[in-house]
């Protein structure tokens, strides 16, 4: 990175920490530390829940996802607006009326202590591990791309935010997220403008979309249908997006304390609802635009030299292996193919009606044939990386956008976009640490401590818990380094293993009034076992189902099983507890 990039990066990060510390003046009790004294307006709630959900991976992975697989990933968010409506109708009014700190307190009021403790424990387990992975995933990408030491990248990615999160609690988290999102959106908008600006002068925005479309990257809506019916293993399609996405988002926003803790800080029920509903309005378009950036980057590379593999550190691995001579030959052939493609693309743009064939048909033929050739070279590199003596990382999807930034954007802007990655990570990690600390003190320390402790001591303990969780997550990040790129997938899978069951418990609490504590507790334990079993069978190839469906199976399973168990125990003569 150049000096201007370093200046922009350091100035932005230090500025955020300073702003967080400035906003740290809170009441010295738990209400101030975890709930901002319930004083936050709806637009801060909106930015806070968006900042919590959008991690660094969102901005690194989504453009790469569109680049390789097209825009169909956006369907994953179609369930979100529906989930916001259900939350506003059911969950949020109850949470506000009970004036709770954590979502799990409600479960003790509705069921019993053991259900609350189990659910809170599952949250701590899942969120603690996935936050560690959220630190590690962007740190691995940045360290690999920029040549930074992974140990220190993890420390900066997960450590600096601890300063303002420990000091200022929920208020510092919410207000820094507001500033972070403004910088993030500004940075991404400039990146989008620059991609179009860097296209050849005769190629416009719509031409870029057409080029992407010809290669199948504009596959925004897909049905998941095959010639033989619906493909249940297809991750992103209209049905899985609406149904699977609905359960995923409902459990995330309704039962994950990192989100519940954001909208509980609202000054009223009205402000919470408005923040969530606005999120339902803007989230899908926002995700669409981030993915569109990936399609534009794809089109940019149709008119310029595209790296054969975007993770350069892995190519360097091959340069020092038995494949080094084959790699030199492959790169030579690939460059020749790229030069021919660029000249053909320019020819079509200059003379749209060659030999009476329309430019659209020519474009389709050229883009598809060059994609086919490119995949041959990329697959060869992947095969080499997967060989037992290399054991490299053959997935470069998450490197595509940053590689484009580093190779093509002007000085200063690179620093800004690296800062965007840090800020996106900080926003979600800070909220996670705050929620982990609130559950630890409220659901465990305060609940199980026989001694009555003063508000001042609880406040100081909360700071220590926030700090301790920060250290724990950094340790997880350091240990997770060897898993490589599959970390990003691991975050989603880890969530899907627990979210469905937790959501099921809450849905029983809200909608199945006759079901008692014992039935829901046993159902939750059984369904968690079933979900983990399904996941193991999927890994072994014995079951073919996408992890997104695990949320729906877990939630509906707990509801069904607890109803049956409740009916059975009631019929046997015992009353629901």
């Amino acid at each position: 990175m150049s000096r201007p990039d370093w200046i922009v990066l350091i100035f932005t990060l230090v500025g955020i920490i300073a702003y967080g510390l400035y906003k740290s003046r809170t009441t010295r009790d738990l209400d101030g530390y975890f709930l901002c004294n319930r004083s936050v307006p709806w637009y801060i709630i909106l930015l806070s829940i968006m900042g919590t959900q959008a991690s660094a991976v969102t901005f690194l992975s989504a453009p790469g996802q569109a680049y390789t697989d097209g825009m169909r990933f956006v369907q994953n968010y179609f369930g979100l607006p529906l989930a916001m409506v259900v939350l506003c109708v059911t969950f949020v009014p109850v949470f506000h009326r009970l004036k709770i700190f954590t979502a799990y307190e409600f479960l003790e009021k509705r069921f019993d202590l053991k259900t609350r403790t189990l659910t809170s424990f599952l949250f701590l387990l899942q969120r603690g591990l996935s936050t560690g992975i959220s630190i590690s995933a962007p740190a691995i990408i940045l360290s690999s791309l920029m040549g930074w030491d992974i140990f220190w990248t993890n420390i900066f990615m997960g450590g600096l935010l601890i300063i303002y999160t420990v000091t200022g609690g929920a208020k510092a988290v919410a207000y820094t997220q507001q500033l972070q999102l403004i910088i993030i959106f500004g940075g991404m908008a400039i990146a989008g403008y620059m991609v179009v600006h860097l296209l050849p002068s005769h190629i416009g925005f719509l031409d870029a979309l057409r080029a992407g479309g010809k290669a199948g990257k504009m596959n925004i809506i897909t049905t998941g249908g095959t010639g033989h019916g619906f493909n249940w293993n297809d991750r992103y399609n209209l049905l899985s997006g609406i149904i699977g996405g609905f359960f995923l988002q409902l459990s995330y926003f309704g039962t994950d304390q990192s989100q519940v803790g954001r909208y509980l800080t609202a000054r009223s029920l009205k402000e919470s609802r408005l923040g969530l509903l606005m999120n339902g309005l803007v989230k899908v378009p926002m995700q669409f635009l981030i993915l569109l950036l990936g399609v534009l980057v794809f089109s940019f590379y149709q008119y310029g030299h595209e790296p054969v593999f975007f993770n350069e550190s892995q190519v360097k691995l091959l340069e020092h292996s038995r494949y080094k001579d084959s790699l030199v030959q492959l790169q030579k052939d690939y460059e020749a193919m790229q030069s021919a493609k660029i000249s053909d693309m320019s020819r079509i743009a200059d003379d749209p009606m060659q030999a009476g064939v329309s430019s659209s048909d020519q474009l389709r033929t050229l883009v598809l044939s060059s994609e086919e050739k490119k995949m041959y070279y990329r697959n060869t590199i992947r095969r080499w990386l997967n060989s037992p003596d290399i054991k490299g990382d053959s997935n470069d999807t998450n490197y595509i956008f940053l590689r484009f930034v580093v190779d093509n954007l002007p000085k200063g802007l690179i620093g800004l976009l690296i800062a965007v990655i840090f800020l996106a990570a900080w926003g979600s990690i800070a909220a996670a640490l705050n929620s982990l600390a609130s559950c630890t003190i409220i659901d465990f320390h305060r609940r199980f401590s026989g001694n009555l402790i003063s508000q001042e001591r609880e406040y100081r303990l909360s700071k220590w818990y926030t700090f301790a969780w920060g250290i724990f997550c950094i340790i997880v990040a350091q240990l997770a380094y060897n898993i490589g790129n599959s970390l990003i997938e691991a975050v989603n899978v880890l969530g899907s293993l627990f979210y469905g069951v937790i959501l099921g418990i809450f849905l029983v609490a809200f909608y199945l009034k006759r079901v008692g504590a014992r039935a829901v507790f046993i159902s939750a334990i059984l369904m968690e076992t079933v979900i983990i079993l399904i996941y193991i069978l999927t890994q072994k190839g014995m079951v073919n189902i996408s992890f997104l469906w695990l949320n729906a199976i877990g939630a509906l399973g707990v509801m069904l099983l607890s109803t049956l168990l409740n009916a059975f125990t009631t019929r046997s003569g015992s009353k629901p507890t």
């Binding site: 956006v74 179609f78 607006p81 529906l82 916001m84 409506v85 506003c88 109708v89 059911t90 009014p93 109850v94 979309l209 057409r210 992407g212 479309g213 199948g216 504009m218 596959n219 925004i220 809506i221 209209l238 009223s268 029920l269 009205k270 609802r273 408005l274 509903l277 339902g280 309005l281 899908v284 378009p285 669409f288 809200f510 909608y511």
Partner: protein
């Protein structure tokens, strides 16, 4: 399911007379977006 309309004066829905209109708006915007995305898929693919 709890009543979707709030009782308190300060909890009254802004802009509309009732929160239900907000919920309809959110779902309607989702449907319009899906329609728009379908159009883009057909147009550019």
């Amino acid at each position: 399911m709890p009543d979707s309309t709030s009782s308190g004066e300060d909890e009254r829905a802004p802009v509309f007379s009732n929160w239900n209109y907000w919920y309809v708006l959110v779902i309607a915007v989702l449907l319009i977006l899906i329609g728009f995305f379908y159009f883009l898929t057909k147009k550019f693919s």
